[in-house]
Amino acid sequence: MSTLNITRSLVSATNPTEDQFDTIRDELLAYFNGTELEATNIADGGMLYTSLTLAADDDPLLWEDSDSRLEYVSATNNFLIRCNTGEIVFQNKIGTTSAESLRMETTGALTIGAGGIPKIGQGNSSTAMDLVHALARYRKPRLEYTDDDIITIENNTGTSGQTVLFQRDQVTAVVDRTLSLAVEANGYAGAHTGAAVSGRKVALARATNTWYYIYGVQVQGGDDIGGNSIMVADTTSPVQANCAGLDTAYGAGKWVYLGIIRNGYNDGTNTNIIVPFQYDEYGELRFTKTTSQASDGMGIVLASATASTDLDYAMAFGTGAAEIPVVALRGTLMGYRSGYGFEMYYIDDSTAEVHALNTNYQHTSGESQLTATAVLDIPFMNSYTIRLKIGSTSTTNKIRLAALVDHYV
């Protein structure tokens, strides 16, 4: 609407006629009914609204001919904040001093103002995470041995007794940090009720001389839903081909692999106890004890015999008694011979060639010597055999798995 400027059509010292009043009336009607208000009508600083509404979807609030805009986009239902040429800045302004708190750059980068840090997972106060702190300090928690039946998980924050896990879609806190192979897990499925419990996967029996893969799984049923997780022991490995199955069992993105434990030494006696271990941050699992048998090396028995012939172990992968878990890329095998020396070979079955060996013990095969042990640090491969090459004297010979590097931790 243009500036109001009514034509002064009346004549001085005469009575106005109806037509003269009508002329003025028509101008006023045309002005107020036929046009709209313009900036020239508005007082500086005068537009104070209790609400300001853009009439229809997609009507924008523009700055300077669309250089910047705020807009509700009906096609996507998005609220659009756009700056066409510069960058989008959020700031705190105290008096005349402005401090930038956040900038969305033209590169797409998000820059946080001085002193500020990004925090994620704020929707769950128990696991809210300072991102910078997480980058500096977060380590996936290690599994820790407790006793024959129980493992725990590392306290990996500055809060005593707390374990947090970065998972594929959120950060969780491990609500039950003790896993017993004697109990079943509860809380990882939507149908579960009651308190969350770490344990074996439901309906999975505890078996002797078996490897168990341990997963951190979000609590999705029962009393502890909401940013919590438990540990679940399973015999399904985390190799790529099993990911879909694990997604089905635990929910897509709701699990993270923590490591592997072993139930049973496969020594014929101690077959249903967790083998003591240490995990390091680099995925190396080292067994830390021998069995109740004589000091014949630490770890799992893969082959054992009392004989005067060479002792062989054909590399085999799986969760069984004398198998190496498929997550193991390489590791340490230990050879033992009672009272005599030996040579320890890693043999390619296809060519019968020795591709690695350790013979750091001298011996005369027919004479009694010190009891010998030797280790081989080797890549684990199919169609290879570990051989303890011995002399002609019958002795007790063993091959043990002493350590492995877990490729998936």
Binding site: I24, A43, L48, D59, E64, Q240, A241, E353, K389, H407
Partner: protein, 418 residues
């Protein structure tokens, strides 16, 4: 605008004069022109089809300019201001808060996760922090290298570049643009002159040579038909050390390359133009898993000597480099396999030492025995620091009996830069 008074100077019994009318019209004009404000409009009146604000003018919220939005004519920044230091700027979707800027700390507090929209819409910050592992290199055959399938999606590899995460899905049994590198191919798609389909391969201007170490990079495709959120593998002879970063940035784009690992072409004395098969782990170790010829051990043969003297002599001295028996400087440790070949009778054995350049012994290594089991073999495995000038030496314990032939293999390495 103040109230309209329309001053009445006349009485009911008086004639209406022109001046009376004109005075009222003048007042009406004065009140209308430039004086209308929110007092004059009905509730809900401010429903606009469009509202445009000049640069440097603010859309202000609150009676004391508490919050405002402004487009700056100089910087062209679109600025949202909150004048309360203790107040927060809050973002909501529907009625739920999704993020806030803390007015006191400047912290950006996000209720849930962060996604990298530009580079990839799937791999969030939680996911990267929780489950991402840089893909390892996978040996396929003497001329081919794959990249690990490191997500739960079959045939997919995810690489976090400094510029953002990129995932590529490709069945390398059917195609080999991205996740398979064939040593006979020339890499395409990383340079500004590149056109056509992307391909993994040897960097342009690098020659495929025998007995040479090659450094493998994931490089984002920025040119040609597949430019965008794709990457290729490039085989290069430039190490990823700090002093080379400028070169690599110039070659592949700043923030557009990630070092994946080192491969070796050539076993040493034999099979000098085939990739030496390996297993790479996520801890930086690569173990070689094949030998060049019968009676060799895993890895690259760097020495084959007959030990006859009772005085130490060096079998192998570490030298930095990328060809022959030299060792890339990015390795922090080496795994060495020693194999002694004797005739099986009671020969006097040999002693070994690993020495630094200054002649100091780092390790007194075990002797190889006086005797071996019939048809047996002798040797051992050690891990040593990759120190230029350091050497593995050996001597006979006695000159009696047969001499020993000793072979030395680099059977693995710890890569400091993976």
């Amino acid at each position: 605008m103040s109230d309209l008074s329309l001053t009445k100077n006349y009485a009911d019994t008086e004639l209406l004069y022109k001046a009376d009318i004109d005075d009222m019209l003048t007042e009406l004009e004065a009140k209308t022109n430039g004086m209308i404000d929110s007092d004059n409009v009905a509730s809900g009146w401010a429903t606009l089809g469009q509202l445009t604000i000049d640069k440097d003018l603010t859309l202000t919220m609150g009676t004391t300019d508490s919050s405002s939005v402004e487009l700056d004519s100089v910087t062209l920044d679109f600025t949202f201001s909150n004048t309360y230091s203790t107040g927060n700027t809050i973002f909501k979707v529907a009625s739920a808060e999704v993020a806030r800027i803390d007015g006191t700390s400047n912290n950006l507090e996000i209720q849930d996760d962060v996604y990298f929209k530009d580079r990839n819409t799937t791999y969030s910050l939680f996911r990267l922090l929780g489950t991402y592992r840089k893909p390892v290199l996978v040996y396929i055959d003497g001329d081919s290298i794959d990249m690990e399938n490191n997500t739960e999606t079959a045939n997919q590899s995810l690489v976090v570049f400094p510029s953002g995460p990129v995932a590529v899905t490709e069945d390398t049994a059917a195609a080999h643009k991205y996740r398979r590198l064939e040593t006979g191919a020339t890499a395409n798609g990383y340079g500004s002159t590149h056109t056509g389909a992307a391909d993994s391969g040897l960097r342009v201007d690098v020659t495929l040579a025998a007995n040479t170490w090659y450094f493998i990079y994931a490089v984002r495709v920025r040119y040609g038909d597949n430019a965008g959120n794709n990457f290729i593998m490039v085989m290069d002879t430039t190490e990823p050390i700090s002093s080379n970063e400028t070169t690599l940035d110039s070659r592949y784009g700043s923030g557009e390359w990630v070092y994946l690992g080192t491969v070796r072409r050539g076993f040493g004395d034999t099979a000098t133009t085939t990739l030496v098969s390996w297993q790479q782990d996520h801890q930086g170790w690569t173990y070689f898993v094949d030998r060049g010829t019968a009676d060799d051990f895993f890895g690259i043969r760097v020495a084959s000597e007959t030990i006859s003297s009772t005085t130490y002599s060096n079998l192998f001295t570490i030298a930095a480099g990328t060809d022959g028996e030299s060792i890339p400087s990015i390795f922090s440790a080496l795994k060495l396999d020693i194999r002694a070949i004797a005739d099986g009778d009671s020969d006097i054995g040999a002693n070994f030492e690993f020495r630094t350049a200054a002649g100091n012994s780092l390790h007194n290594l075990p002797s190889i025995g006086n005797e071996q089991i019939a048809d047996g073999a002798q040797g051992f495995i050690i891990k040593v620091p990759n120190t230029v000038g350091a050497a593995l030496g050996a001597k006979r314990l006695s000159t009696s009996g047969d001499d020993y032939t000793v072979k030395l293999f680099v059977s693995g390495f710890l890569d400091h830069y993976v």
